[in-house]
Structure formats: structure tokens, C-alpha cells
């Protein structure tokens, strides 16, 4: 049995199993992006990769809103755990998105917004070791909250340079904390059927001017995080934005399903109420 925290009672274990079956699938979380997904599949790890200003964090707020909004407003009414590693989490922005998406007058929606926020847990981490310890300590939270379906990590690459400098000459020791984080994330996703979205920043430039591939966003991808992380990712979404901001406000992303090796392109705009797919 996955949960180690004091579940001695057999009945409790079965109850837990029953609740686990109820965790949301990718398709339910965002049908536009994951229409082709098998809705019986739970527990996936997805990576959002791209340069700055391409909408990765906005996408996280969009997915968070979809999860925490009540069913009456088209949401899933489930809980979300948001791990913020760069002091980037913007509560004002999330509240704006929720307010815009909730129907009804502003009087009614303040309580409604509070109820939505009650389904969100935000945690900050200052280093990759801190992240690892946090993940371990969150296992009991995940266990105790059967309606917690989504774990967000913004961003996984925040400590990359600091880890590389602290690890001395050995690449293994540089990557060790992140490797353990990746393995633990996989465990959380697999055992508790969580969907994990993690953002990684495009810190590296592709050495050669390789233009093949389904899109230039993918061509620019140069994996730099540890192999353990590359292994656990099931989907990679490459975000990019148009070069000329004056003529277009359309962002695009290419979703690469690593299992089936299929690619799919999506286009979206970002409005007051968050992301809208085109």
C-alpha cells in the first residue's frame, strides 16, 4: 500500500483506494490540450519548456483555475498543490483569472473566489535540497487530501546554476538533489495518481542551427537537466511566441507525447481571464 502514514486499518486502505480512483485525468483537466489522451490514465508527469514570456506560468494558472473552480462554473472542484521555487507566484493574477471566470456579480464572487482559493496550497522552496524535503513532507498532505489531483512545480530549473556550482567537479553530485526529486515526483505521480506539471526554462541555446523538427520551438530544445528527470517525463510541451509582437499576440505550443511520439500544435491568446485556445 502506498501510504505509510498510519493507515493500519484494512477498511481505511480500501477507502483510500476508492478515493484514488476518483482523481482527475489529464483529459478532464484540459480537454483542448489532452483530447487524445486515454481518460483512464492517471498519474502523468508533464514538462512545460520554453523561453521567458511564452506563457508557461499563465498556462499553470489556467490549469489551476480549471481545477479549483466549482463544478457549477465548469471547473473540477479539486485541489491543487503549487510549489513555487522562484518567488514567482502571483496571487493577484490568479484571483483576477478566477474573478473573470466566475459568473455572477462581484458581491457573490468574492466568497466564491475564497472558496476556490481554499482548494489551493502554495509552498515556496529556496533550494533543490529544500525542494526534496518539501516533496517528502508533502506526501502526507497528498495522502490526506484525496481530492488533490494536481501538483505544479514552477519551476524545476530554478536551482540549476546554483546546483552546478555547489556540486564541485562531479556531475553526479551536482545533479543528485534534482535526481532524487525526479524519482520522488515519479513515485508521487504513480502511487497517488497525481498529474504533475513542471516548468523548465530554456536556459541553453542550441549550439547548432538545427531547423528540422515539427517546430522551431522543439528545435531549440537542448536538454540540460539530469537524465533521471528526462526519464520520468511523459509529455513535453514546448512553448513559443511570435517574433514580431506588434502584429501578433498569439502564443503557440507543441505538445510532444513521448510514449506515442506524436506531436500536436496548439495556439492560444492570453486575456484578462487567462488563456483562451484559438
Amino acid at each position: 500500500m502506498p501510504c505509510k502514514n498510519g493507515l493500519r486499518n484494512c477498511t481505511e486502505k480500501y477507502q483510500l483506494l476508492a478515493r484514488l480512483e476518483g482523481r482527475s485525468s489529464l483529459k478532464e483537466i484540459e480537454p483542448y490540450l489532452f483530447a487524445d489522451e486515454d481518460s483512464s490514465v492517471h498519474g502523468d508527469i508533464l514538462e512545460f519548456h520554453g523561453p521567458e514570456g511564452t506563457g508557461k506560468t499563465e498556462m499553470l494558472y489556467h490549469l489551476t483555475a480549471r481545477c479549483v473552480l466549482p463544478k457549477s462554473e465548469g471547473g473540477l472542484e479539486v485541489e491543487v498543490l503549487f510549489i513555487d521555487t522562484d518567488y514567482r507566484f502571483d496571487m493577484l493574477r490568479l484571483v483576477t483569472i478566477l474573478e473573470r471566470r466566475l459568473s455572477g456579480g462581484s458581491g457573490g464572487s468574492e466568497d466564491a473566489v475564497k472558496r476556490c482559493l481554499g482548494r489551493l496550497f502554495v509552498v515556496s522552496c529556496g533550494s533543490s535540497t529544500h525542494l526534496l524535503l518539501t516533496l517528502h513532507s508533502l506526501e502526507s498532505t497528498v495522502c490526506g487530501h484525496p481530492s488533490l489531483c494536481l501538483l505544479i512545480l514552477d519551476s524545476l530549473s530554478a536551482f540549476y546554476w546554483i546546483d552546478r556550482a555547489n556540486g564541485g567537479e562531479s556531475v553526479n553530485s551536482q545533479e543528485s538533489a534534482l535526481k532524487k526529486c525526479s524519482q520522488f515526483l515519479e513515485k508521487l505521480a504513480h502511487e497517488y495518481r497525481l498529474v504533475v506539471f513542471a516548468t523548465t526554462q530554456s536556459l541553453m541555446q542550441k549550439a547548432s542551427a538545427w531547423t528540422e523538427g515539427p517546430s522551431s520551438a522543439e528545435a531549440d530544445y537542448r536538454p540540460y537537466l539530469c537524465k533521471a528527470w528526462q526519464r520520468v517525463v511523459k509529455h513535453r510541451l514546448f512553448f513559443s511566441r511570435p517574433e514580431d509582437l506588434k502584429t501578433s499576440n498569439r502564443f503557440s505550443l507543441v505538445s510532444h507525447n513521448l510514449k506515442s511520439n506524436s506531436f500536436k500544435k496548439h495556439v492560444f491568446i492570453i486575456g484578462e481571464s487567462g488563456i483562451e485556445f484559438c
Partner: protein, 216 residues
């Protein structure tokens, strides 16, 4: 940069500016670095005690000095020391390029790690302590495309939550003090928004008859 002139703040008349200049105080930095009591006495200046006194100027010429300054500030503010430090609301770093660009380039991992450590200090200040943090950065030319881009590279580009690009506006009927400000990154507003600013008068530039015609 930051040359003192009449109207810059209440109480700063043209006569006062001349008087300060005769005492070797020409810029804002000179004024706040000087012993204000001394200046007041020598110049017979009765300044409106406040505005300029509330600007604390600290010099830091390398990354380690910078990190020390930020850590000291954070320490002073968290201890609730009732001094000027405790009421700091805005921290301005002019410029972050000056202390970080010597660290970059080559194979130095340590340089990038220090840059990210600086980023973390600035963000902690903003988030935990609740001050507004503003940094200035330069522009460089991209090696391949030749286009102008912000300096300090990709890793730094993720650090600021809001970015404003200032550009010199040239053209008929425009004075040399006009600048165009572009919002290139924002967590809450759509990017691409732009506004003209006259840095001579610190307001919306007054249009000359010719350019007004063009606008319509």
C-alpha cells in the same frame, strides 16, 4: 546623470541649484552623499526636510559587495530596526549589468550561480520584506541576428517579473528628452503597451503642431 536643476523637487529653486553648484554639488548623488547639515549651514539652504534625505545611496562595485548590501538590508528590516532602513519601500539597482556582466562569459559556472544568487536575494527582498525592487539593465546585440536584446542573457531574462524597454524617440518635432517606454514583460498586463515620456519634465510630452497633425 541626475543633474540637479530647478523644479526637481519642492524647494529646489534655480538660486539654490547655483548655490549648491558653487559648493561642488552638481548631481543628485552628490547631494545625498553630502552631509546635509553641513550643506544647509554653508549654503543657508532651508530645504524641505524630506525628499532628498529619504534617498539612501549605497555604492557597490562588485557582486560580493552587492550581495552584502542586500543581506544587510534584509537583516536590518527583519529586525524591525527603527531607522531609515526600516521604512525602505523601494530598492533601485543601477545597474545590475555593471556587477553581473564581469561574471559572465567563458566557462565559468560560478559566475552564473552568483548571478542567480543575486536574483534570489532581490526576489526575497521583494517578496518576504515587501519592497519594490527595480533594476536597470543594458542592451546588447545578438551575436547571430544582430538584433538588440537585453543584456545578461537567457538565465537572467527569467528573473524580472516586469520589463520595460526605454528607447530614444527621434523624429520631426520631437525634443531630445522624449523617450518611448515599451512594456515587454508583465505578469498581469498584455505586453506591447507603450507610452511616451518626456524625461525633461517628467510628464506626457507636449506635442508640437506638426506631430499633432500626424497623430490625427
Amino acid at each position: 546623470m541626475g543633474v540637479l536643476r530647478a523644479g526637481l523637487c519642492p524647494g529646489l529653486t534655480q538660486d539654490t541649484v547655483q548655490l549648491l553648484r558653487s559648493r561642488g554639488i552638481k548631481t543628485v548623488v552628490d547631494l545625498v552623499s553630502a552631509d546635509l547639515e553641513d550643506v544647509a549651514q554653508k549654503c543657508g539652504l532651508s530645504y524641505k526636510a524630506g525628499a532628498l534625505q529619504r534617498i539612501q545611496v549605497v555604492r557597490a562595485f562588485d557582486i560580493f559587495q552587492m550581495l552584502d548590501v542586500l543581506q544587510d538590508l534584509r537583516g536590518a528590516m527583519s529586525q524591525q530596526v527603527s531607522s531609515a532602513s526600516a521604512t525602505v519601500k523601494v530598492v533601485v539597482v543601477d545597474s545590475v549589468t555593471a556587477v553581473v556582466s564581469p561574471l559572465l562569459g567563458g566557462q565559468q559556472r560560478e559566475g552564473l550561480a552568483l548571478m542567480m544568487q543575486l536574483a534570489r536575494e532581490l526576489k526575497t527582498l521583494a517578496r518576504d520584506v515587501g519592497v519594490a525592487v527595480m533594476v536597470t539593465n543594458h542592451m546588447t546585440r545578438d551575436r547571430d541576428s544582430g538584433k538588440l536584446k537585453p543584456a545578461l542573457g537567457r538565465s537572467w531574462s527569467f528573473v524580472p517579473s516586469t520589463r520595460i524597454l526605454l528607447d530614444i524617440e527621434e523624429g520631426a518635432g520631437m525634443s531630445g528628452s522624449w523617450r518611448r517606454a515599451y512594456l515587454t514583460k508583465s505578469p498581469r498586463l498584455p505586453t506591447g503597451f507603450q507610452e511616451m515620456v518626456d524625461i525633461g519634465t517628467w510628464g506626457i510630452p507636449e506635442q508640437s503642431p506638426t506631430s499633432q497633425g500626424d497623430q490625427m
